[in-house]
Each structure stands twice: as C-alpha cells, then as structure tokens.
Symmetry: C2
Subunit: 356 residues, 2 copies
C-alpha cells in the first residue's frame, strides 16, 4: 500500500475527530532495504511493493491520513499489527507443493514458478500423433474431385484438433483401399509415433481393412469396433505394443465427435497428464425440441447466442456427414443413451469447440 | 449409407411380412462414377460415401434388407425418394457465405474450407504486443532478490496470456523508474508494436511516471487512470497515433485480471476481429460466502470441483498481490459493482483461465 509504515499501537483509538499525530522520519524507497528505524510516535513513507521501516508492524493507507506539515501527519483510523503488509511465506511456504506433477503449465503458473526463481522445468515431450487417411474415394484438397470422389478434409481437421489439445500431428499421404499399401504406411507411422489414427474410408469393406491393418501392428490390436454414439458409430479403438490405435469414422462430423470424446482423453494421458483436463460445460437454454433415439448417445452441434442476457443453444440440424454443421456451430450438446430427446426451454450442457 | 441404391417407388408398401423383392444388378465402388443403371425392380450395392446408381433416387440401409440369393434381396421397409442420400448443395450452396470475415479459423473451419478446395486464405498478421516492465524494485527471474526487491514475473505471465489470445508478445528489458530511460524504451517499442503494455511499477510515483511516458508517445495519450475493479484499480488506458496503450497494475493478480477484462478484447479488435470472442461462463455453485464492497467490481479466483455431479466453485482467498491465488485456481468469478457479495449455495458464473 502507498502510505506510512507505523507501529500499530501508535494508531490505537485514532479517529477523524481525535487523530493520532505521528512524526515522519524518512521513507523506504521501493526496491531497497529499510535504513529507517521507528521509535514511539514515528512513521515512515511507504510505497506499494516496498519494505516496512524497521520497528514498524503495519501500514496506514495514505487515504487514512492528513498531512499537517512537512514532518507531521494525522492518522484518522487505527490499523492492526500486520495490516496492509504481506508476510514472508504468505504466498508459498517452504515445503509447499507449488505445482503438481502431470500438470499443464498455464500463464499464471509461469508467473508462479518465476516468482520462486524457477526458470527451468522438466517437461514431457509432446506426443506425436500420426494421421493416415485411407479410402479410394479421397483426393487431395487442392484437386478437383471427379464424380464419386471427395477431398480429404478429415486428416487436416483432425490435425488441427490434435494441435489444440497440445500434441504434434504428423500427416501421411493418402492411401488407397489396398491392404499392403495401408500396412506399409501404418508400420512406418507406428514406429515413429506415440498415437496412431486411421481416418478410415467410409465403406464397410474399407473399415474391415482398417481393422486387419491395425491387428497386424501388434498385440492385442483392435479392441472395440463400433460405439453407441451418433454420429460416430463405426469407430475402432485398439492398442499395439502399448501404443493407442484409432480408426475414426470417414464422415467428418463423426470423426470430430469421436476425436473429442475418445481420442483426446487418450492423447492427454500419453502427454503425461493423469487425467484429461476438465472441459467444463456451458449451460444454455435449448431453443427447439431435439428428438433422440434411446439406446445410443446423440451429439448435436449447437450455435450459442444471448437473448435478453440468457445464453441460448440453437441446434444446427443437418446430416452428420456435413462438415458445415460444425462450421456453423459453437459447440456440441449430448443427449444421453437412455434419453428420448430434449424439449425447447430445457437447460442443456454445451461442450464448446476447441476444448483443452 | 452401406446398403442398396434403389428406385424408392419399388419399395413402397414393403414390410417384414411382405418384403419387396429386388434384383441386384451390380455395385458402384466408392470413388467412382456409376456405370450401373437401374430398371424397375432392380437395386445396386451402395457404399457409404459412394454415388447412386443411375436411375436410383434413394438408398436402403443394409439392416433393412435380407439376402435371398446371390442376385436377389428382400427390402423390409419402404424408403422415400432422397432418403439416405446427400444432395448436391445440401451442405453449401453456390453463393453461400462460407465463413464471415473477421473470423478466427477453428479446426472445423479448416475442414470446411478444404472441402470446397480452398487451400489458401488471406489472414490478418498477428498483432505484436510490446511488454515493458518498469520499477526500481524488479530483478530478473533468475536473480536472487535482495531485501525489498522482487522478481519480474508480470511480463512473462502477461506474455503467456498474449500468446493464448492469438497475438505475439515482444518482451523488453527491465527499465528502472527513470523517465528518460522509460521514454526511450517506450518509443522504440511503440514504433514496432501494434499494442503497448507497460507493466508499471507498483508505487504511486512510478505510476505517475508511466502516465507521463505514455502521454509523450502521441495524441491523445492516457485516457483512463484508475478503474473501479478489485484487484486492478491502478490501471491506465490510452491511445497514441491510433495504437492502444496500457499501464497494468504492478501486482500480478491485478495485472492478469485487467489483461483479461480490458487488454484482451482490444488485442482481438487489433487482430481484425470485429468483436472479442465470447468467453462463455461456466455455471457453478458457490461453496462459501464471498463478501464484496458495493461500488466496485470484485474478481475472485475460484477452484472448481464436482460434488455429487454438481460443479462447485470454492473461492481462493488471499491478498490480491499473491500470484499463487491464481496458480491455485481454475478461473475467476465476478461480483458486480452494485452487489454486496454472494452467499454459499448461490449459482455463480466462472470465467475459466485461458479464455479465447
């Protein structure tokens, strides 16, 4: 605080009608140790961030004083010992855990470490996530697709998502639906990556091929084929030699939903976090009925807007293979498996795009 | 959908007890144009992501069919024309605005653009934000502070925050509380930066010096000195030659709060966004009473945890100059200016750290 270092007891009983008169005997410039020592009835000019004068045990804010003359002030209210003073160890004590292990460093953590003189810290290498796009129908984004072909957009969308969650994406060339070709690329990628993602072709036969390829990478191979969420059903999850493997659905929205729900938490674990960072939901009022089929978890893109100060979620309907339902949304709402839908006016949880 | 291309009218009235019998005359491999043409009573194998056979107008899901023999299927429920088919222009129509200008590109936007063959896009240069730390009491983080000195942590904390909001921080050397020295660094930084931040010394005289320096950079100079928030009162806001100038409070928590509320939106505007991205609050139940003084806006760090599935906010009390109140928190809650505080059990809005 800007004000005066004082001995608290010299201010006891002070009021506007009966102020305490103190003699100002010096000041303690910021950034220096005090060379001033207070006796009974004395004060020293104090600056925010500066040290107390010797013998002082509190600071009176400048607003609670009046200047009588060059060397005399009136203190108009009492202070208690320790008031407006930060004690040694008040922020961190010797022996405190400053940051837990398995923690992602945030901007304020940088400040906290530097405050303690910690200018170097051991960190975990960012995981490398290999992304392989397969499918006879895929062409590169800068090519013009012929009838029946589509541009590969999933590997780039997923790569951007991988970056968002703190890992390093490594994209591979497009691979056709040919077992030997896929296996060759998969083995090369698998050796140098920590996580392997197959952005699988969308046909049944293509997905079967993905399973066969993943099973050849090591034990135990594919563990899950198909999960009860929409969109995202044709998902493959496996492990080989301790490395996680994923086969994402070919349709772009499914791929993003499965990435967020299934792949992202695993990337966090591989990053050294003991649990995936919370992705606290935003609560919003649903603006339209959203039907859902019981027996599977539904994920619906929503757009957020404020209406009279209330946050509202407008579902963005559209077939689940249309990337622009995501482009036109701010986040996703989930309808649990045993639920038949949600009505307009209900409060729903929205998971914003670009989570931690 | 995996299934069969059909003429919808051939399935009308089909049921499990009275299925429609169709002859399978070929398939349309994914990634190719159809060479198969359907006549009455015919179907062709269809793969997800593939094209319709010529003459077909719908797809029957494979789950709604039974195989009778190599060339014959039973369809057990009718489909309408267009069912399970994505039409040309269903995702985006010619002339649609795909992404607005002044938009920050997200992972799904990458996918959306690539889907349309847009592989290059003009973007705004990230703004350069100069950060100058001033104050006689400051030493570098790798130095051991003498009595009365503190390590400079604000310029690094703020730099990390600048990066989080999509701009490029440029840190300058520590400058003592000397007008000529500060002006020289400020002018050099001002010329090459888009936004100038003074992480001001914490004493009154130092803040006065900051104002004088900012006023010398150009018209109109400092516009605001002091805002009614806690922590964060001694904030300076100005403009010179169209460039925003800020003097942040010396205490680290105040600096972060003011950065989030005042500086961040301006960096977004300078980044070319027409409005600062929404920072939708997370709703949580307050676990303790939080008193507040009417007449100023209070910002209190809170820690989030789940209790029986309910998100709870535990205030992290501590003097506002203690960086570890931020390190130990997940976000901030605000108490509006005219409010006397919040009670335990009330629902409060929490702004998570690391906002957009």
């Amino acid at each position: 605080m800007d004000g005066y270092s004082v001995r608290a007891q010299d201010t006891y009983g002070a009021s506007e009608s009966l102020p305490a008169l103190l003699t100002v005997v010096g000041d303690v410039p910021t950034g220096q140790q005090s060379s001033v020592s207070l006796r009974i009835g004395e004060a020293a000019v104090a600056y925010t961030g500066g040290m107390l004068a010797q013998g002082a045990d509190a600071v009176v804010m400048i607003e609670r004083t009046l200047t009588v003359d060059e060397n005399t002030i009136e203190v108009t209210s009492p202070v208690a010992p320790g008031e407006n003073v930060v004690q040694v160890s008040e922020d961190v004590e010797l022996g405190d855990v400053v940051l837990p292990s398995a923690h992602r460093i945030r901007s304020q953590d940088v400040g906290g470490m530097l405050a303690l003189g910690i200018t170097e810290v051991e960190v975990v290498r960012k995981p490398r996530v290999a992304i392989i796009s397969t499918g006879d129908e895929l062409v590169m984004p800068d090519e013009t697709p012929k009838p029946g072909q589509v541009r590969d957009i999933n590997s780039y969308t997923i790569a951007a998502r991988v970056t968002e969650c703190g890992a390093v994406p490594v994209n591979y060339d497009l691979v056709p639906d040919n077992f030997e070709a896929q296996l060759a690329v998969a083995q090369r990628a698998f050796d140098s990556a920590d996580v392997l993602i197959f952005s699988a072709g969308s046909s049944l036969s293509s997905r079967d091929m993905t399973i066969d390829v993943l099973n050849r990478l090591g034990e135990p191979g594919a563990l899950v084929h198909g999960i009860s969420i929409k969109p995202g059903k044709p998902t493959i999850v496996g492990i080989a030699k301790g490395k996680p493997l994923f086969g994402l659905p070919g349709n772009p929205v499914s791929a993003v939903v499965v990435f967020d729900l299934v792949v992202r938490p695993i990337i966090h674990l591989v990053s050294g976090l003991t649990e995936s960072p919370a992705w606290p939901p935003v609560m919003a009022i649903l603006s339209r009925d959203v039907p859902s089929v019981a027996g599977r978890e539904d994920h619906i893109p929503v757009r957020l807007h404020r209406e009279n100060g209330v946050l509202c979620a407008e579902p963005v309907f559209g077939k689940s293979n249309l990337i622009f339902t995501l482009v036109n949304s701010d986040g996703m709402m989930a309808i649990p498996m045993d639920d038949g839908g949600r009505y307009a006016g209900e409060q729903v949880e929205v998971r914003l795009h670009g989570g931690p």
